[in-house]
């Protein structure tokens, strides 16, 4: 329940969309990781075995892509990279070490978040397009040379996506008060002032 | 089974009456139930039974002669009379009277096959002539001809010949017989052709391509089209044409084509091959259409048309072998 001075960061639909993506990420990700390396093949047990993992993985991936499309449409405008983001990136190392003091003020999304957004977009697109090259259930066999490039890029993009998600999840844990934005939809004014001052001003000006 | 084929006497086989002693009771040559010694004992009155006259003698009263393994060769000529059985009558060399001169003496005394011993022909082999027919009778060794001598060619038994002649097939892509200027000798003048069949011959104007029928390794005649394992290796009816003809007609591998002769038409897949080339026949380019035969209207293989829909009804003048491998067709995309 929103208290009188809490700021709404995400509405209900956006939150549901996000969590759908998150759950599908785990499902598609774990089923995919089962094939990534033999040491992770045990993950296929979560989905009923190797064959079931192979069957389900592409459906989970496509579903995740479609859900992400919904998110993309909602958020892309606010994630366009600008000059201030470049300044933020230059100072990011200091922030990481724990000194937030010298960071330039940011709007709704800082440069780190924007990079995460575009990395997710790019890797999901590559995952979808390359995945089609070898989804036998629905598509005819593409030439072998194309499939060889496809499987390599698919594995590479998957790693990029996993690492990006790790960064994304960690950031939400590291900056206290962030997770509530996605679980409840609201953030405290203090959180907003500290982490996204320009957005705070926008929101409180109204 | 060999015993049965040899034959046996069902009743006593009697010798013909002795002209010198007509009153004497006839001799019993073979007792009832005994194996016959040879085809000379076969009778046409039901007293003998035999599976095949040429094998008569293979299993005599002495036993299975085809199982004999005597390697002795007294003549040194490699005759081996008592090794197995050679049909007919265990004769090892046909026309062996020719081993002796007209006087009945061996041509080469060192290689004595059979010769006249004064009363009969005898030697290291069973004579291939009536043993009593001495040299004085002038009987020649080639017992199947009336004159007793060999012939270079058959006389009186052929519709045409005796020397081989080239004739064009009745449906020829060229207009003349290059080997014979007689206009009546383009195709075999001695072939038997029914009037209706003659009327069904086509000309190279309407049907410009030479066609031939043949067989494939994957199928045997018309029965393996009913065998799935064969059908997998060669499932559909096809015809083969050379690349030049394919280009002329705008055909490529896998197209469905219609092949027509003056008698009918068939549909098939076309295989374009480098193995068939246009032939230069006295200045005219003649293309060939190859037609494998194995398909028909039933079978597990993909059904097809009978290739004999196209072939002409005419046969060789002597043997009646049908001219199914040389006729005329036209081809186009279906």
């Amino acid at each position: 329940m929103k208290t009188s001075n809490e700021l709404q960061r995400y509405d209900d639909n956006t939150r549901m969309n996000h969590w759908a993506i998150a759950l599908l990420f785990f499902a598609a990700g774990l089923s995919g990781l089962a094939f990534f390396h033999p040491s992770l093949f045990f993950l296929s047990s979560l989905f009923g075995g190797g064959t079931w993992s192979r069957i389900l993985h592409p459906y989970l991936g496509v579903l995740m892509f479609l859900c992400f499309l919904g998110m993309y449409v909602r958020l892309w405008r606010e994630n366009v990279i600008n000059q201030q983001d470049k300044a933020w990136m230059a100072k990011a190392g200091e922030m990481f070490k724990g000194n937030k003091a010298g960071m330039p003020p940011v709007g709704k999304y800082n440069a780190g978040q924007k990079v995460v957004f575009w990395l997710m977009t790019g890797s999901l697109l590559v995952l979808l397009l390359t995945g089609i090259l070898f989804w036998h259930a629905w598509f005819p066999d593409f030439p072998i040379w194309a499939r060889r490039i496809g499987v390599l890029l698919h594995a590479f993009s998957a790693v990029v996506l996993v690492l990006t998600v790790i960064v994304h999840v960690y950031a939400a844990i590291w900056v206290k008060g962030t997770t509530r934005a996605m679980t409840r939809g609201t953030v405290s004014p203090g959180w907003a002032k500290m982490n996204h001052p320009l957005w705070y001003e926008e929101m409180t000006r109204k | 089974m060999l015993r049965e084929i040899n034959g046996r006497a069902l009743a006593d086989v009697m010798a013909p009456p002795d002209p010198k002693n007509p009153k004497e009771p006839p001799k019993v040559l073979v007792k009832a139930g005994e194996q016959l010694p040879g085809f000379g004992m076969l009778r046409d009155d039901g007293s003998t039974a035999c599976g095949n006259w040429i094998y008569s003698g293979v299993w005599s009263q002495a036993g299975n002669n085809s199982a004999r393994r005597d390697t002795s060769d007294p003549s040194g000529l490699g005759v081996y009379q008592n090794w197995g059985f050679a049909w007919p009558a265990n004769r090892r060399i046909l026309y062996n009277r020719a081993a002796a001169t007209p006087d009945g003496k061996p041509w080469d005394p060192k290689r004595r096959q059979i010769a006249w011993n004064g009363t009969a022909w005898a030697g290291s082999d069973v004579p291939d002539i009536n043993p009593a027919l001495g040299p004085d009778t002038g009987a020649g060794p080639f017992i199947m001809t009336p004159e007793g001598t060999a012939r270079l060619f058959a006389v009186g038994l052929m519709a045409e010949g005796p020397l081989p002649e080239h004739y064009e097939p009745f449906e020829t892509p060229v207009s003349a017989n290059l080997m014979n200027t007689n206009p009546k000798a383009v195709s075999n003048p001695a072939a038997r052709v029914y009037k209706g069949d003659m009327e069904q011959f086509g000309t190279s104007k309407e049907f410009p391509y030479a066609a031939t029928t043949y067989r494939l390794t994957e199928h045997f005649h018309y029965w393996t089209k009913n065998s799935k394992i064969n059908a997998v290796t060669q499932p559909s009816q096809f015809v083969e044409i050379g690349e030049e003809l394919a280009k002329e007609k705008g055909l490529k591998n896998g197209d469905t084509v219609k092949v027509k002769s003056n008698r009918g038409e068939i549909k098939a897949t076309v295989v374009v091959t480098k193995r068939i080339k246009g032939l230069d026949c006295n200045g005219k380019k003649v293309h060939t259409v190859g037609i494998p035969i194995h398909w028909g209207f039933i079978g597990v293989a993909n059904t097809g048309h009978l290739s004999n829909t196209l072939t002409p009804f005419v046969g060789d003048a002597n043997s009646q072998t049908p001219e199914f491998k040389a006729f005329l067709v036209n081809i186009e995309k279906a």
Binding site: T51, R54, V175, K176, M194 | P235, R275
Partner: protein, 292 residues
Amino acid sequence: MTMQSSLDVIARSATTTPSPSVRQGVEVAKLIDESKCIGCKACQVACSQWNELSDDIGTNVGVYDNPSDLTDKSWTLMRFTEVEDAAKGTMEWLIRKDGCMHCADPGCLKACPSPGAIVQYSNGIVDFKQENCIGCGNCVTGCPFDIPRISKKDNKAYKCTLCSDRVSVGLEPACVKTCPTGAIVFGKKEDMVSYGNKRAGELKERGFQNAGLYNPAGVGGTHVMYVLKHADTPEKYAGLPNDPSISPLVSLWKGTLKPLAVFAMIGAVVGGFFHYMKVGPVEEKEDEKESA
């Protein structure tokens, strides 16, 4: 040739630990002499009969190759190529028996993500164990010769087994037994190599200067070899690859980068954990919270 037991498996798909190595196996090989092959397809039929496969009856797409490609139920195929040499005025009908080459360094095994779906025996035979196959098709992507085929019926991969069942009891493969011209022979690999080289020598004497043995080193040598009249241009024979090897893309895809990536991903989580412990979270200061 011993019974194929677990002791004979020297390599296993998606397995990072060593396979049994105590037993010393004898390598076998099948040698196909293209110069003696007449394209009769008896080998295709024998293979189907021994393995009790009954493929579908297809259609003729305009070639003598039937079926037109390898399938889950046709594990060997005669491929016909007509080659003309205008300069020499020759036309050759080259016929090659296509099928698994049983590489010493199998691309299929390297690409397979399912443990034990593909095994390699000490005698050189590379076998698919369909009970472990998940039907992903990676083996097709990894194979330099485009051999394995996924069944549309059961989504499992199939290919020539080099009659591992027959070989394990001392019999020759079905195709070897059937070949009417003796174009396919079978025995110890070293014997087949010397016989193959001898045949190549005989072909050279008969005017085929480029005759040779096809036993490509790029895949470590193969346990199915060819004697070819034109060993210098194997691609003439329906695209048999010249000097094949596992594609560098496949090697990259399945190479050391993979375990490094796993390490990196786990490392990122562990790193985050330790970062949090060291640096502590970013939180609003106590007094600021109150005044807001």
